[in-house]
């Protein structure tokens, strides 16, 4: 990847996809496109990509530091040759149509030649005012880069403020400062556009009742994130802005500017604030002091994502976060202390309550920027009433203009995993407008030739990250470094800040060159996530990538032992010693590759599976779509209408017809999976099909699990005993098929969270609140006089479905809140159903005679199916039986087993629109994998020393995959293309003739030597 500041006038023969917005969504979309062999231009008006996420301290539900999780992705983008990154660039014009647009892009001057800038920081040190960015609260961040791992890692000069350009140029030893840099314009031929421009967070300064932006200790959620962040203005210390003292009582106020009817409010729900407030509260207690009181004032707790309810329970039960259901109406500051009084009322108490806090965090939601509205106008796409990009339920990432797709918050408010899913989906759609370039070989190997280090004695460089405060906040990194610096063969030992940041990487490269290092030890986070990054670093300096060892100082030391810092430091030293002694024995190795099978197996023929199949077929892949049911359609066949009024039945019928008619899709119904083998890119799955259960084997390179979920039907509230009690799904068909019957009902009671959010099935089913509202509105439309009561715990009409919640209230639907420990009671006397519940507003129990009681039973995992498949495929599941993605945040459709993807309700409960989105995303991710013509098997394969081999056959018999054989020369031979790298043969070989590369015995023993301080 090169940053392009020069004029680019691409010939139309090589069209590209334009991705607008360099946040996590845009990066994901661009990466997916580049991986699937499409050329991409990624533009962002900021001067480094990363977006909002890089400003966050930690993300839920894992409470990881975002910088650490996102930076490998950013660096990944840094090595994609098909990607042009254009920071400080905006779109000024677009002409043409889908498949053949011409866009005009304008790049603002940076005044720095990024190809020369080494990000040394000298310019800022000397002239801090001449830099531009204001991250978070402090106008002058410790560095002038937006965050330490910024890509590209170059500075930008604010020419407006520069008084003496010559002086500035003089401090730059790299001669990178350009005095006469000018804006540049480029026209590019593109096939499609992905819009991932995000949104800004609401500025609460306009709200008088919350201090109007004047109160020092009232901050927004994002400001609070910056305060907590290790790269933030307080260097990771949690202190009050007014006096720099750590607060003892912190309050969060939810829905600030959202779900409101007041001036400056928006009516929709911003979807993410409940979770981020909970996260900030937990992290506050976890990282700073468990005795800090954390109180959240909320309207409804909307923790309806995958496993989010568990997170809510953790916040309440394990961390003691106070949750007060209320809407505070004012904050008053004590001018002496800077403390803040919050006045609020609750359902239960009619009088005003007041409580004093040291600090108040306003959970502000998303707003579309004015510049985005302008961009939409320029692009010619329609916006919805809230000024977000308009999409349809059955085409969730398509804007009103063909060829322009949208993902992320600009489509609707959403969190990171949903953004990632949508980004992959949008990339998949945008990619379909542009043929995959299979003729072009994958240009990857422009690394310099490898230096032969075989004759050299080990020269080791040890580089230890402090990972912000995650490592450096627990152990004295410099002391630990000093303690290992004296070990033999260690030439350099240094602490490098964020090891994965651009400048640190550069520093390491420089040290390797300078000292002629031939072995490198990195102390930082888990090699599971960061090994590739540092392996690439070695390749860049001409060293074999297997000459580096990553010592897991964070995940397996400082994180786990933060309560015992002295012991953690000792352990860090020992782990580093192990790394050093181990890496001395490492050898240069060559990776092995195999061709990829281009077929895809889609399991599950519901809406999700069919969409994924169609999309893959569209992209030109052969699809096997299997379902154990006799017909396609899945659960959606029992849904008639979406909340927006879309006709689901007609949609399904059309979808089935398209799938059946597509000659690239082989549909196999009544089919079950019986066996599975192979490796990513080369799987073989055995299925039995049809009434005779005929066996056949499917060869495929990847698979999408879209097995769906089951409608829940718990035996509660007389369900199944009384005909007047039904589920929302039942009601859906009554309304559609027997409207006259429904019209005659006088009173209908709906009960939410039946069989969800309680012991046994602790998670939220996500879809039921909107479904209840949808059906309530449909009933009201049939007969406005029907009285409808919705008994609920929290109304979770996230995003724009909040509109329908408001509409339902206006239509006279009554909402009565109940508690888990005081559930409503449904009884039947003389054929009359009655529902009794405590009305918290009235403060007494009410009894409602009901013609129908409708239970919102939601979904539960198809436990049997997922268990069977998990066993067959060796993939993981959550505790409640849904498939588990590889990374809940950043890889929500990939599974840990490479080549496997999940989509739809097999992942977690979701509505049709969300399921389709994930289906497209899975298809996109799968094609990115299949676009690779070869699959890298790595170098971790077993190797036989023919001289030692006794041809005893132990390996031949021990290998779980039957790979070794005794060759014509009379010794065991292991085909590297077939070896899975488990090492069983190496462990069993009685002649010790087999070594598993990268895990050789001498390396393992050397690590033990390092641990026990027997260095030789």
């Amino acid at each position: 990847m090169e940053e392009r500041n020069d004029i680019v006038n691409e010939p139309s023969a090589h069209p590209k996809v334009l991705v607008i917005g360099g946040g996590v969504g845009g990066i994901r979309a661009a990466l997916d496109l580049a991986e699937s062999r499409r050329n991409v231009v990624l533009i962002d008006k900021a001067y480094a990509i990363g977006g909002l996420m890089t400003q966050l301290d930690r993300t839920f539900p894992t409470n990881n530091c975002d910088l650490c999780t996102v930076s490998p992705d950013l660096s990944e983008s840094g090595r994609q040759h098909r990607m042009e990154l254009m920071p400080m660039t905006t779109l000024v014009d677009i002409q043409g149509e889908a498949g053949n647009f011409t866009v005009t892009l304008e790049t603002a001057p940076r005044h720095i030649d990024v190809s020369k800038c080494t990000a040394c920081g000298e310019c800022v040190a000397k002239y801090p005012d001449w830099v531009r960015f204001t991250p978070g609260l402090d106008p002058r961040a410790p560095t002038c880069m937006r965050y330490p791992q910024a890509t590209p890692f170059a500075f930008s000069v604010d020419m407006e403020k520069v008084e003496d350009i010559k002086a500035l140029q003089a401090v730059c030893r790299a001669e990178a400062i350009l005095s006469d840099d000018q804006p540049k314009t480029a026209t590019v031929n593109i096939a499609s556009v992905v819009l991932s421009v995000g949104a800004e967070l609401f500025d609460p300064a306009v709200l008088d009742h919350f201090g109007g932006g004047q109160l020092a200790n009232v901050v927004t959620g994002l400001q609070y994130e910056r305060i907590m962040s290790a790269s933030g203005p307080t260097a990771g210390e949690l202190v009050r802005p007014s006096d720099g003292v750590r607060p003892k009582k912190v309050a969060w106020i939810q829905c600030v500017g959202s779900r409101g009817i007041n001036r400056a409010d928006v009516p929709y729900c911003s979807s993410v604030c409940c979770m981020y407030a909970l996260k900030e509260a937990i992290v506050t207690k976890e990282r700073f002091a468990s005795d800090i009181e954390a109180t959240i004032f909320y309207m409804d707790m909307r923790t309806c994502g995958k496993d989010y309810e568990l997170y809510l329970n953790r916040a309440k039960n394990d961390y003691g976060v106070q949750l007060i259901r209320s809407r505070p109406h004012s904050i008053i500051e004590d001018p002496q202390t800077g403390n803040l009084s919050i006045t609020y009322t609750t359902d239960e108490e009619s009088r005003h309550l007041t409580e004093v806090f040291d600090m108040v965090v306003l959970s502000t939601g998303f707003r579309v920027q004015e510049s985005t509205v302008e961009l939409a106008r320029r692009l010619g796409i329609e916006l919805n009433i809230h000024l977000f990009a308009k999409t349809e339920a059955f085409s969730p990432v398509s804007t009103s203009k063909p060829g322009i797709y949208v993902c992320g918050v600009f489509e609707s408010p959403k969190d990171i995993p949903e953004t990632m899913v949508q980004a992959s989906a949008a990339a998949c759609m945008a990619g379909a407008d542009l043929h995959m370039d299979l003729s072009d070989p994958q240009a990857e190997d422009d690394f310099p030739p490898e230096r032969d280090v075989s004759g050299e004695p080990p020269k080791i460089g040890v580089f230890v990250c402090d990972c912000g405060f995650d490592i450096g906040g627990v152990i004295p990194v410099n002391e630990v470094v000093a303690s290992v610096a004296k070990l033999s063969d260690v030439v350099v030992a240094e602490s490098v800040g964020y090891g994965c940041s651009g400048d640190s990487m550069l520093r390491i490269e420089q040290m390797i060159r300078e000292h002629g290092l031939n072995r490198v030890v990195i102390g930082g986070c888990s090699p599971r996530t960061h090994e590739t990054r540092f392996q690439d670093l070695l390749r860049r300096v001409g060293l074999n990538k297997y000459l580096v060892d990553i010592v897991n100082l964070r995940d397996q030391d400082t994180w786990a032992h933060m309560d015992r810092p002295a012991d953690a430091a000792k352990k860090a030293e020992k782990l580093l010693r192990m790394g050093i002694t181990g890496v001395r024995k490492s050898r240069p190795l060559v990776d092995h590759t195999l061709p990829v099978n281009q077929n895809i197996l889609v399991i599950g023929g519901g809406v999700t599976g069919m969409n994924a199949a169609l999309q893959m077929a569209e992209l030109g892949f052969k699809v096997y779509l299997i379902d154990r049911a006799p017909d396609l359609g899945g659960l959606a066949r029992s849904v008639r209408s979406t909340i927006e009024g879309g006709d689901v039945s007609a949609y399904i019928a059309d979808l089935v017809q398209k799938v059946r008619a597509n000659d690239k899709i082989q549909v196999m119904t009544r089919t079950i999976i019986v066996d599975h083998s192979g490796m990513p890119g080369l799987f073989t799955t055995g299925v039995q099909s049809g009434p005779r259960m005929n066996y056949m084997q499917i060869q495929h390179g990847a698979a999408i699990l879209a097995t769906g979920a089951m409608p829940n039907r718990p035996k509660e509230y007389l369900l199944g005993e009384n005909d007047g009690v039904m589920t929302q799904l039942d009601l859906d068909s009554v309304i559609a098929d027997m409207p006259d019957q429904a019209k005659g009902w006088n009173q209908v009671v709906m009960i939410q969270c039946v069989g969800s959010r309680e012991p046994g099935n602790p998670n939220c089913s996500r879809i039921c609140c909107a479904t209840a509202i949808k059906n309530a509105l449909r009933l009201k439309a049939l007969n406005a006089d029907t009285q409808i009561y919705v008994l609920y715990r929290d109304m979770r009409t996230y995003g724009f479905s909040e509109d329908y919640y408001a509409e339902a209230r206006q239509a006279g639907v009554k909402f009565i809140r109940y508690q888990l420990d005081d559930k409503p009671v449904v009884a039947e006397t003389d054929g009359q159903l009655t529902v009794t519940a405590l009305d918290p507003v009235l403060g007494r129990r009410i009894e409602i005679a009901a013609d129908r009681v409708v239970l919102s039973t939601g979904l539960r995992a198809d436990d049997e199916t997922t268990e069977d498949l998990a066993m067959l495929f060796h993939v993981a599941r959550t505790d409640d039986g849904y498939f588990l993605e590889d990374h809940v945040k950043l890889r929500p459709v990939d599974m840990a087993l490479k080549g496997f993807f999940i989509a739809g309700t097999a992942h977690s409960p979701k509505n049709i629109k969300e399921s389709i989105t994930q289906a497209l995303a899975a298809a996109g991710r799968a094609q990115a994998l299949l676009a690779k013509t070869t699959i890298n098997l790595g170098a971790s394969i077993a190797k036989v020393d023919g001289n030692r081999c006794a041809a005893c056959l132990v390996c031949v018999r021990a290998c779980p995959f039957g790979v070794p054989f005794i060759n014509a020369d009379g010794y065991s031979e292991i085909d590297p293309a077939k070896c899975h790298g488990c090492g069983v043969c190496a462990a069993d070989c009685p002649a010790k003739a087999i070594q598993l590369m990268t895990f050789e015995d001498d390396q393992i023993l050397a690590k033990l030597d390092g641990l026990f301080e027997r260095l030789n």
Partner: protein, 144 residues
């Protein structure tokens, strides 16, 4: 031996136990820092010699942590490992050591809690058993 802090080596398979250990870290689950992990692709890779050498070089306890039965990424490496650990336990008993100093543990990648819990339990067990006989015996000197 009031302040005896055992030194423990854990051979962890990449796919399950090592990931579970990372998981324990990301959940900030505390466990004894005595445990030092050596990553292996599969517990089936752990040679009986590795365990013996770890003890010889000074480990007070060694455990091998792999996937749950039936979940091995390589079909049955964890079962093989369990047999080897049993073999080493017998060998240790035969030479007058305590076979309890080595153990096979299984867990899935998502079981951060179990990783932390078993690390605690094993460390506690070794603490009860006391320092490695290699350390306590008089006249010990550096070996191998």
């Amino acid at each position: 031996m009031e302040n005896f802090e055992p030194e423990i080596v854990a051979f962890c398979c990449h796919y399950c136990a090592y990931t579970a250990a990372d998981m324990a870290g990301s959940k900030r689950l505390s466990y004894p820092p005595n445990v030092k992990i050596i990553r292996v692709p599969c517990t089936g890779k752990v040679d009986a010699i590795h365990i013996m050498k770890a003890l010889l070089k000074g480990a007070d306890g060694v455990y091998v942590a792999g996937c749950l039965e039936g979940d091995c990424h390589f079909k049955n490496g964890n079962i093989r490992a369990a047999h080897r650990v049993a073999y080493v336990q017998k060998m240790l008993n035969d030479i007058g050591w305590d076979g309890e100093r080595v153990e096979m543990i299984t867990m899935s990648a998502g079981m951060g809690e179990r990783f932390a819990q078993t690390a605690k339990e094993f460390t506690e067990k070794i603490r009860q058993l006391g320092p490695s006989p290699a350390k306590t015996a008089a006249g010990q000197a550096a070996v191998g």
